[in-house]
């Protein structure tokens, strides 16, 4: 079940509402379990591609499926709502809920059929794994950059996602903290590999976490490579 591959084919043209730039997005790629890096300059359409996968933006044409489970198909009109996709999306801004404690943030994504005390227990357990259990009852306003990152990642892992999307969540961190965190994340991902996309424009980040890399420029995929081929050298 967790070994399904995510296949993405989306076309999205300029003048679509909410589109800030006149970007034509036209991409197709596969994301097997493990980390695939989506690499390219800002404005290349990386975040927009993630938004399509999460269901936040509806492409004009294309098909998005996880194994046999179709999330979007412009031919059949199928469209699975955001909240039914179980996609963990770690935003660049992290999007921690400011009016909730760290534990409440993490518990938010745990399915409702789990009773609240159990949700809290799972949340604190995940915060412990991310080494921020001491923040459980504090609100995000008081967190440092690295701490906020860890809570956001704990929230993503705790929801037991089927797909994980990381939209440059490490870009604001200093190098030392970043390396340590990237190592922990890759360990956690290796426990239970699911299709994971890391968006970045920093080669060292890509090399540390990624197994494959998809290069994207001006809304088009220019190259796909395995990290063992040393695509950045």
């Amino acid at each position: 079940m967790s070994a399904a591959t995510l296949s993405v084919r989306v076309s999205l043209h300029a003048r679509q509402r909410g589109q800030e730039r006149g970007l034509d997005l036209d991409v197709a790629f596969e994301v097997p379990p493990g980390v695939t890096v989506l690499f390219g300059p800002s404005g290349a359409g990386k975040s927009r591609t993630l938004a399509c996968i999460a269901g936040i933006v509806r492409p004009q044409r294309g098909r998005i499926a996880l194994g046999d489970d179709v999330w979007f198909d412009s031919d059949t009109g199928e469209l699975l709502a955001i909240h039914r996709r179980r996609v963990a999306y770690v935003f660049q801004s992290l999007a921690l809920f400011p009016h909730m404690t760290a534990a409440e943030n993490v518990a938010y994504g745990i399915p409702r059929d789990v009773p609240p005390p159990e949700r809290r227990r799972i949340a604190v357990e995940m915060l412990t794994k991310m080494r921020v259990a001491h923040l459980s009852d504090r609100r995000p306003r008081t967190f440092s950059g690295g701490e906020a990152q860890r809570v956001a990642l704990a929230r993503a892992f705790a929801m037991r996602p089927r797909v994980m999307l990381l939209d440059e969540p490490f870009s604001a961190l200093d190098v030392g903290v970043k390396k340590e965190l990237l190592r922990e994340v890759s360990e956690r991902l290796a426990d239970d590999p699911i299709p994971t996309i890391l968006v970045t424009h920093q080669p060292e980040e890509a090399e540390l976490l990624g197994e494959r890399v998809v290069f994207i420029e001006e809304g088009r995929i220019t190259r796909t490579a395995s990290m063992s081929e040393g695509p950045f050298r």
Binding site: A54, I56, I82, H83, Y89, A95, F97, H99, Y108, M159
Partner: protein, 254 residues
């Protein structure tokens, strides 16, 4: 005391008879200053009820306008904002037509509750709701639109259906703006004059709110009788607006 009719001058621009209310005698009530408390308490009762109603309807409308795109959205916005600039007499006319004793709604309400909407306390509440509604819709909509949309999207990706994301994320994050809106609504409800006079009349003990009682007292050169009401209304509005200012100022700073 005369509870049956609509007494005080000037009643030339308000003829309840035309809407099915009978005035056995149009006699001017003489009020002693100890009776200022009655209209004030009535004003508070009506304003509190109106605020609750305006909150329920207004927050719902604001949420729809802030989050959904549909044909006619701008028209709904205009409809709920219009009372700010519409003459009270025009609004009052519409209410009398829509909810008067000859209207379908008016008759249905009377059949259900045994009391008519117009020229009763219910009418005064309706009048106050109409005055307060635009303030609630406008302020709550702004507060909802100022919340970070990424947070709502994050909630959705974490498995929350749209309504849960609204009630657990967007609404609590907008609480300052909503609290400010409800205070404005209360202050506005407290002071309604025009629409109240049109649809509820000026019946002492029933629909004579402080705003109307003040008018009566001034007309009759009994300013002394209005002093307490004027002071209370002024003080309360100043305090409410001060708190509203505090709430919305802190909301804007990060």
């Amino acid at each position: 005391m005369d509870h049956t009719g609509c007494s005080s001058p000037p009643s030339t621009f308000m003829r309840p008879e035309a809407f099915g209310v009978r005035c056995p005698h149009s006699r001017y009530e003489s009020l002693t200053s100890s009776m200022e408390l009655g209209p004030l308490l009535l004003s508070f009762e009506i304003a509190a009820t109106a605020t609750v109603l305006a909150a329920v309807i207004g927050i719902t409308v604001a949420a729809v306008l802030a989050n959904l795109r549909f044909p006619g959205r701008d028209l709904v916005d205009v409809l709920f904002t219009a009372p700010i600039v519409m003459p009270p007499t025009v609004l009052g006319y519409y209410v009398l037509v829509a909810l008067g004793r000859r209207s379908v709604l008016g008759q249905a309400f009377e059949w259900l509750t045994g009391t008519s909407i117009v020229f009763t306390k219910v009418g005064a509440v309706v009048a106050a709701v109409i005055g307060a509604m635009p303030l609630v819709v406008k302020s709550v909509r702004t507060a909802l639109e100022e919340t970070d949309p990424t947070l709502v999207l994050a909630a959705r990706t974490l498995g929350a259906p749209p309504l849960r994301a609204f009630f657990t994320i967007q609404l609590p994050l907008a609480y300052r703006g909503i609290a400010a809106a409800l205070m404005l609504a209360f202050a506005r409800s407290l002071g309604d004059f025009g629409v109240t006079l049109m649809v509820a009349g000026n019946i002492p003990g029933e629909t004579q709110t402080a705003a109307l009682a003040i008018y009566d007292a001034i007309q009759a050169h009994r300013e002394d009788d209005a002093r307490l009401m004027i002071a209370v209304l002024t003080g309360l509005v100043v305090v409410l607006l001060y708190v509203v200012g505090k709430l919305t100022a802190r909301e804007r700073s990060p």
